[in-house]
């Protein structure tokens, strides 16, 4: 049996409503944004998580790091195992030892993820393990990290402030910080969304190269861009309304999508081979606001293949083929 690096079991995350302080204690004032979500990442794979805005992708990433802004957004139930230890049960001190060492995260917006008043070098040194090396070693290691992520003229860049670097360079620095302690899991939360397309490709190449160098570590790649998923991921999950709808190996996912939502997503992509006259076919409707999802399958009210049972009863997660899971009443 294959061992899993990260196992998320029945995770539920909820947002408290505005009058949280006044009526504390009553549970109906919170809305679940991640709903009974389970997910397994194998050691060494690049795991793609695809979803629309507001589907709970980033909240999932923050839950794994336990960086949610509690008490307004909090984990209600579930377990997150990293190499067998439950992250959710760790004390603050032990959690700090895991952050950066075992899991690290690359954020979406490189410009705001770096402290504007500190130099790049200072922030990189911060990311390097505090107890191992002497200052000189640390500095050399920081420079080698910068070189590794493709920052030219690394020595002098150490003394730059974030505003003196371009977006792509800043994202490279963020990646350098994320890989500094060789974590076993890197969460990449839409790392290319804020960058333009050419830089996107470079950053993806970089991530792929880094991953091939450290093949035992995994990457959880969160994105809304199916093209990127196709380029670098081994396994793909689709998330909608805080639930995983379908999980499949990459090739299977693109050749044989089973869930209507996945099919809709893939159909709505423009195809360069087709004639220009063909209109894009988007999924009908919009994502409902939080708490307004149907009680059964969350996608039921937008689904073209919905039957009466879809609105009432939650579908089970079924393994239709090997490693291909779908949550749908159709199967």
């Amino acid at each position: 049996m294959m061992s899993f690096l990260l196992e998320i079991k029945n995770l539920t995350v909820s947002i408290q409503n505005e009058n949280f302080y006044i009526s504390k204690g009553s549970n109906n004032l919170s809305t679940n944004v991640i709903d009974n979500l389970s997910l397994d990442i194998r050691a060494g794979e690049i795991y793609g998580l695809v979803g629309e805005s507001g589907s709970g992708k980033t909240l999932l990433a923050l839950s794994i790091m336990r960086l949610l802004s509690e008490p307004f957004i909090k984990i209600n139930s579930g377990e997150i195992f990293l190499n067998g230890t439950d992250i959710l049960k760790l004390s603050y001190e032990n959690l700090r030892k895991i952050r950066g060492n075992k899991i690290s995260i690359i954020f979406q917006e490189p410009s705001s993820s770096l402290n504007p008043v500190l130099k790049i070098g200072t922030q990189l040194l911060e990311a390097i393990s505090p107890d191992t090396n002497t200052n000189q070693d640390k500095k050399e290691y920081a420079i080698s990290l910068l070189k590794k992520v493709g920052v030219p003229d690394a020595e002098s860049r150490m003394n730059y402030y974030p505003h003196q670097l371009s977006g792509g360079m800043k994202q490279r620095v963020m990646i350098a910080m994320a890989i500094a302690r060789k974590p076993s899991l890197i969460i990449a939360d839409e790392p290319t969304t804020a960058l333009d397309v050419t830089i996107q490709a470079e950053i993806l190449d970089l991530l792929r190269n880094l991953h091939s160098e450290q093949s035992e570590s995994s990457i959880l790649f969160i994105t809304h861009n199916l093209a990127i998923v196709n380029q670098i991921c081994d396994t793909v999950s689709v998330i909608y309304g805080g639930e995983i709808m379908e999980t499949a190996p990459r090739d299977e996912f693109f050749s044989n999508p089973l869930h209507p939502y996945t099919q809709g997503l893939l159909n709505s992509l423009p195809d360069i081979n087709k004639s220009k006259r063909i209109k894009l076919s988007p999924i009908k409707g919009t994502v409902p606001p939080l708490g307004k999802f149907p009680p059964g399958c969350k996608f039921a009210d937008r689904c073209e293949k919905a039957v009466s049972i879809c609105n009432k009863i939650k579908p089970e997660n079924k393994e239709l083929q090997k490693n291909h899971f779908v949550k749908c009443h159709l199967y």
């Binding site: 790091m65 802004s69 060492n101 690290s104 995260i105 993820s113 770096l114 402290n115 990311a127």
Partner: protein
């Protein structure tokens, strides 16, 4: 060389350059700084004690040791100029200088630039009834108790500025600590803390000062403590908001994601970023505190007499409107000081403004 280039590219140095390029603010800063530094030399410049006395072949340094009148065999001449009586008590060096000059005995006295003490009345040496108008001896005249106005203004400048610098510094530190804790911890601590601050800020400050000054009397230290206790609230609100805003920013999240400790988050990441807007408040707070001290002194609830204070002089001017020097000089000194500091504040605000410079060139 490397360190130099680091300094040259640092944000602080850029801001200093920008501040320097705003001439009005820069020169105001230089003037205030020089005046304030000079004010620490006041005992050598404005003092009734002489710098140096040569008497019977020996040198005396009255600045460091107090001498009695009989040490120099000083005497007082009565009006008819024939009888002279020995003087008792402290030596009076101005009179001693005249005495040595008329004796022509080779003894001499080196007086300070302005040989008057701010708390010393000159009724015995001057003719007529105080206040005396400006003259060569008394540049700004004397007040209604016969004390030299220039000496009082000079010492008053030092006291006002020191006082308001201390109040500003301590109240800012207090506000930053309290606001920072509330903003970082948040939750119930914040809820209760802010209610407490709101209640605290509604306490009528002036009445409390009046009650305290009538109960136990005021001193320089007590005034600083009381004023500090009543002026940290605004800063704490501001810092609290800044902390709330900064701690939710992604770079703090990123720092947390690599396992930064709480103290590191606060002191390394959040505090430096929330401090920038606060720094621009400092000069205006100094101006406010000078004005406050002058107002309290004017009302008579300020520093205890005979401390040289501007408010007390302004009060005298108010009661002696026909003695123009008591009105003009204290007000002018106050006005110029406040103006210069406001210019500095303007410059700092401009230098910290991340957007391009628009005015004040």
């Amino acid at each position: 060389m490397k360190i130099m280039s680091q300094i040259l590219t640092s944000v602080g140095y850029q801001r200093w350059l920008r501040f320097k390029s705003i001439k009005r603010a820069y020169y105001s800063f230089v003037i205030i700084l020089l005046l304030y530094l000079t004010s620490f030399l006041l005992p050598v410049l404005v003092n009734s004690e002489a710098l140096l006395v040569k008497y019977n072949g020996k040198f005396y340094f009255p600045l460091f040791k107090s001498y009695k009148a009989e040490d120099f065999n000083q005497y007082v001449k009565k009006t008819d100029d024939s009888i002279s009586q020995p003087l008792f008590g402290k030596a009076n060096y101005r009179l001693l200088k005249k005495q040595f000059e008329s004796d022509n005995s080779g003894n001499w006295v080196l007086l300070t630039l302005v040989p008057y003490d701010p708390e010393e009345n000159l009724l015995e040496e001057m003719e007529g009834i105080p206040p005396h108008p400006p003259s060569l001896q008394h540049w700004f005249g004397t007040d209604d108790r016969g004390r030299d106005v220039f000496a009082r203004l000079a010492y008053g400048f030092k006291i006002s500025l020191t006082f308001s610098l201390l109040v500003t510094l301590i109240s800012f530190i207090m506000g930053i600590i309290i606001g920072g804790v509330l903003g970082f911890v948040g939750g119930k601590t914040d809820l209760i803390g802010v209610r407490f601050i709101e209640i605290w800020s509604t306490l009528p400050f002036l009445y409390i000062i009046i009650i305290i000054s009538s109960l136990i009397g005021v001193s320089f230290l007590l005034m600083i403590i009381v004023l500090t206790l009543f002026s940290w609230m605004n800063i704490s609100f501001y810092i609290r908001g800044e902390f709330y805003r900064e701690k939710a920013k992604e770079y703090v999240l990123a720092a947390r994601s690599i396992g930064a400790s709480k103290s590191r988050l606060i002191f390394r990441h959040i505090l430096p970023n929330s401090l920038t807007p606060i720094i621009t408040f400092i000069p205006f707070s100094i101006v406010g505190n000078i004005t406050l001290l002058v107002a309290l002194d004017y009302l008579g609830f300020g520093l205890p007499p005979p401390t040289p204070s501007w408010g007390e002089l302004i009060n005298q001017g108010m009661h002696n409107l026909h003695n123009w020097w008591l009105v003009i000089f204290p007000l002018l000194a106050l006005f110029l000081t406040l103006l210069l500091i406001v210019f500095i504040g303007e410059g700092i605000r401009e230098a910290f403004n991340p957007k391009e410079k628009i005015i004040f060139q």
